[in-house]
Symmetry: C2
Subunit: 245 residues, 2 copies
Amino acid sequence: MVPDDDGAFAPTTEDAPSSSGFLDDGKNTIGSQLASRLREAIISGELQAGSKINLDKARKTFNVSLSPLREGLARLISDGLVEFEDNRGYRVSSISLANLEEITTLREEFEVFALRESMRLGDVEWEGNVMRALHRLNRTERDAARPETLERWEELHREFHLTLISGCGKPILLHFCRLLLNLNDRYRRVFLTRTSGDRNVSQEHSEIAQGAVARDLDYSCDMLRQHIHRTGTNLRTHLATKGIL
Amino acid sequence: MVPDDDGAFAPTTEDAPSSSGFLDDGKNTIGSQLASRLREAIISGELQAGSKINLDKARKTFNVSLSPLREGLARLISDGLVEFEDNRGYRVSSISLANLEEITTLREEFEVFALRESMRLGDVEWEGNVMRALHRLNRTERDAARPETLERWEELHREFHLTLISGCGKPILLHFCRLLLNLNDRYRRVFLTRTSGDRNVSQEHSEIAQGAVARDLDYSCDMLRQHIHRTGTNLRTHLATKGIL
DNA sequence: ACTATCCAAATAATCGATTATCTGTCAAGG
DNA sequence: CCTTGACAGATAATCGATTATTTGGATAGT
């Protein structure tokens, strides 16, 4: 489990992604739990993009009071998954081709930059974390028939990408990348139940990771950029197919 | 007045910075007003960096109830000015040399990228907005003796930088740049009551802006990068002088 | 028919009180 | 002397009720 973002940019404390995923994992307050549930509901598409969130209904659906509900929604605003307007309430952020294109472009720029910095600054522990994340990801099958495997894969995939750039020593940059990854995952979860056949994604991840620990800056960065770009193109096609502009 | 961020990334609607600054300007709910007041209190240094925010005291100080207080604080979390932990409450984000360095680095990367995109994509209206923002900024004096002129200048300065990159057509990128600018301004407000004598900042702004509307990509981007870099170096010196690591 | 105005239902925002959690202190036991 | 546990005060989280705002529809005037 990738630990939730600290809310702010965690300028001081910054660890490598969870070493083993403790069970307790924070999640103390109702607000926190709600944020997780809502996030999952949005990323999985259960809550339709662009739809309004009625506080009263949500309150009943989740069986909570207004305060924690607002608390939870506030966090999703930070994540860019929810929008808010005074006296008009909350709504799920819309998706669009333009939005997806921007996310892809920014991921290319930021993640590649962060990867380069990680290769420049990362220590041996970072290398180890990368190899572990890669291994765990590649050992996990994605079976469209079983949704829980999809979720698991998404989780490990996000963790892999975050670990890759976790050595950059730049908390704010990591925060931005995490946001973009979240936004991107929503598109994948909604539109891609299986990997398209013409790509060997595992292979791509391996190449990036091995280049990274070998400190082959240009190679690894280039691979990552192409990887992100291809994913974007792929998603865009699906999006267009399903008739969203 | 630079319009407040829309809370989310405003993926659909995105205008050029306020054309003339209407007075009403939203700010409907207590939560919104509070967010503004708190933001100003933090950026101006009135609320000390790193300090804990006691909800009860804050409630009394600002004469509001908990709900809007939390609402306001939640927005500052999105801005990266406040941090939060379950059951531990809120605290003002700390400042540090490392944090300032990261902000500077990221501004160089992101703003320069956004400027390049703006020059590539911006229309005539964008050009006009840039020239207007430049003019207004250069016509405003900064007088250390009168704090209100400092605030005014900061506002126009922020608006200039945002306008410069407003043509890039990338709402999320703009959102990130706005955050970084906010974070950066806090350092300036706290540590720099006047421009250091060895720089002609107006001149720098003019060069960037004129290069931009002339679509001289490399020149303008280079000038902007240097401008940001110099500001960072400058602030770092002041920070070090005042004994903060 | 078309627009403007007013009302009522729906919805969001706020409040004050209550409950849950944490933090520091002090005493008992090792 | 150090550790552990229990208590009390401080602080945060949550709730239910109240107040303010918006929205959609009905009505009156042009």
